[in-house]
């Protein structure tokens, strides 16, 4: 499999920070994989995602997405990426339909294609009947599902998910994970997933990388990592290599 994302010797130090948030990090994400990026609080996950999304450049090193970098062709990079932020990044006073129409248009989708996709996804995620209700009236699970639809409307090659199931009930979590697996299987969408739900990550991700203090600690196939570290599951692996020290 070819690499969709290549992270090569990337370092990022925020101004006035004593140590780098990302420290000479290198790994790659192959096309079609579901890649779990795990790590304790302050490990550098958000910084890495922000650089992948082109919000700011690394101090050194390079990030290439399908051969493009944000520095040379940001538009091409951003067209490849779909982002589902941890926050409910929707307009609460607009309806689900109005939010999706606006965000789809921002990706430059054709109106008829956009309307068809919105209808399809609202149906898949069980939100058809709530399409014209304001987001502020939705439950946490419903908001999460609309948040996810907003990130996949343009059918990105790389979908970045920052804790997509935090604070939702089992039904919504199940619907989200199932649909993401379908997206990966049927469309070949590469998924970069971060979460603190390690059992969910073990079940969902084909590959996992664990980072701590901006450095890559380990990476590989999920089951290979469990075997290599002679553990029962990913949570054991995680605790074994990151320790029990509080990070907040």
């Amino acid at each position: 499999m070819s690499a969709l994302v290549e992270i090569q010797h990337v370092t990022k130090t925020y101004k006035n920070a004593l140590k780098p948030s990302i420290d000479n990090l290198s790994f790659q994400i192959n096309t079609g994989t579901i890649f779990g990026l795990l790590g304790p609080n302050g490990a550098g996950k958000t910084t890495l995602i922000s650089m992948l999304c082109g919000l700011f450049p690394p101090n050194s090193g390079q990030i290439t997405i399908n051969g493009f970098t944000h520095q040379t062709n940001s538009k091409a990079c951003k067209q490849i990426i779909g982002v589902v932020p941890q926050e409910i990044a929707l307009y609460p006073t607009l309806t689900a339909w109005e939010n999706l129409i606006f965000l789809g248009n921002m990706y430059g989708l054709n109106r008829s294609v956009l309307i068809e996709r919105i209808k399809t996804y609202l149906h898949i995620f069980g939100l058809e009947e709530n399409a014209h209700q304001k987001i502020s009236t939705f439950s946490g699970g419903m908001k999460r599902r609309v948040n996810l639809i907003a990130g996949i409307l343009h059918q990105p090659q790389l979908l970045i998910l920052d804790e997509p199931t935090v604070g939702v009930d089992i039904q919504s979590k199940n619907a989200i994970i199932t649909q993401l697996k379908t997206l990966n299987k049927e469309n070949g969408t590469t998924i970069l997933y971060t979460s603190h739900h390690l059992d969910e990550a073990e079940d969902f991700c084909s590959h996992i990388a664990i980072i701590d203090e901006g450095k890559l600690i380990t990476q590989g196939h999920t089951q290979d990592l469990i075997k290599t570290h002679q553990c029962q599951n990913i949570e054991d692996v995680y605790l074994k290599i990151t320790g029990n020290k509080f990070r907040d």
Binding site: K15, C53, L55, F56, K75, Q79, A89, T93
Partner: protein
């Protein structure tokens, strides 16, 4: 297409924000009505026939009648004619019922006639070689006309009033002298049939406002308040606009938009366009109140002259400056509280030094110098120029350029600050 959707989104967000709508439209409507009513009565107290004057007429003869008639004809005083003692009249002024009291002593008319006749007789006698009557020597005393002023009366206003009354008295004296002369000449030439004496002034003063096209629109409180509060409302846009930007940043929408190709710029352009349209709606709303609603409250209607396109250009320039300022506040502030507090204080400072509350022409010299740094002053001067002086684009383009440059500076600053934060 993206821009249209962005504008549509902003419109939807705004239309459902009841508090934001109240700030944008209800507040300026209330302000324009309240402030114009207050200031109009203030203007009236010094400009129109409402200076309350107590006339204690102990004379009840030709002089006092003439004096009262002239005072009423001046359209400057509101007379209350009565007979009171000096102490009672003084008490009325002390109580604040009247700004001025005029006490005309008894027999004033009689004394005026006698003294005028005496002066004329002396003058004519001196022509006939009679040196016993010297016209420069006055045998009688001057007649004391007592003026009482409320102590709150400003010196400049007091001087104006005193001069007006003196002018009227001089005219009455002159008439009395002319009448005495007429009578004396008839005594000398009993068969003569003289023409009546004309009271018409020999030199007249012609007043005109220095405006283009010979249009003379008299400035009033409406012509100050409508543009002033339009600008105030326009700049208050900075608070809902800044809140909108902060909300988008805090709820992650800005993050999502920044990950989309070209979208963040388009969204910002959408905000600028939407709030610019809002500022123009505010302008037309307040203009309509000036033209149609204020006359219903007994206040003069706003005369917008024949330069509506130029007025729209001024409103557009002020609007874009206000939106640029809002964009900067929204970019720099990290919380709603910061934006509301900083935005409101800055708008109030801009308004205070810009002449929104107190027109710059009555400000002290130092404040006048400072006022030129307020974008509201540039807008206000442009509106004044169009409303009152019928100016053209040629006369106001410098002020308009200042507003556009202010907009450019604020927008570039917002962009640079955003870039700086991004690279932290």
């Amino acid at each position: 297409m993206k821009l249209l959707y962005s504008i549509y989104k902003e419109y939807k967000v705004l239309i459902r924000d009841k508090a934001g709508l109240a700030i944008l439209f209800l507040m300026p409507v209330v302000l324009i009505l309240v402030m114009t009513l207050i200031q109009d009565s203030t203007f009236k107290s010094v400009n129109e026939s409402s200076v309350p004057v107590l006339v204690v007429d102990n004379d009840q003869d030709s002089l006092s009648l003439k004096l009262k008639r002239y005072l009423q004809q001046s359209h400057f005083f509101k007379l209350t004619d009565t007979v009171l003692s000096y102490q009672d009249a003084k008490q009325e002024i002390v109580k604040g019922h009247y700004l001025i009291g005029i006490i005309i002593p008894t027999h004033t008319s009689k004394q005026l006639k006698e003294q005028s006749s005496e002066k004329i007789s002396k003058l004519l006698s001196s022509f006939s070689g009679d040196t016993t009557l010297n016209p420069t020597v006055t045998t009688s005393k001057s007649i004391p006309l007592q003026l009482l002023f409320d102590p709150i009366t400003k010196q400049s206003f007091k001087t104006t009033i005193t001069n007006s009354i003196e002018r009227i008295i001089s005219q009455i004296e002159l008439e009395a002298m002319m009448s005495a002369l007429h009578k004396n000449m008839l005594d000398i030439y009993p068969d003569a049939k003289p023409a009546p004496i004309s009271n018409q002034s020999i030199i007249s003063i012609k007043e005109e406002y220095a405006a283009r096209n010979n249009h003379s629109i008299i400035p009033n409180s409406v012509q100050h308040n409508v543009p002033a509060w339009t600008l105030f409302a326009m700049f208050f846009i900075c608070i809902p606009l800044a809140s909108n930007i902060i909300k988008e940043r805090n709820d992650g929408s800005a993050f999502r938009l920044m990950t989309m190709p070209n979208s963040y710029f388009i969204v910002m352009l959408g905000k600028v366009t939407t709030y610019l349209i809002v500022s123009l709606i505010q302008f037309f709303l307040i203009l309509s109140i000036g033209v149609y609603i204020l006359p219903l409250l007994g206040i003069p209607a706003l005369n917008i002259g024949n330069e509506l396109p130029l007025l729209i250009l001024v409103a557009l320039s002020a609007g874009i400056a206000a939106v640029g300022f809002g964009l900067l506040v929204g970019t720099v502030a990290t919380t709603h509280d910061q934006a509301s507090l900083f935005g409101a204080i800055m708008v109030i400072i801009f308004a205070a030094i810009g002449g929104v509350w107190v027109p710059t022409f009555v400000m002290p010299h130092f404040m006048k110098l400072i006022s030129v740094f307020s974008p509201m002053n540039w807008g206000l001067e442009s509106f004044y120029a169009v409303f009152v002086r019928n100016s053209t684009l040629q006369d106001i383009y410098v002020e308009l350029i200042k507003l556009w440059v202010f907009c450019a500076i604020t927008m570039v600053s917002a962009f640079l600050y955003q870039s700086y934060k991004k690279n932290q």
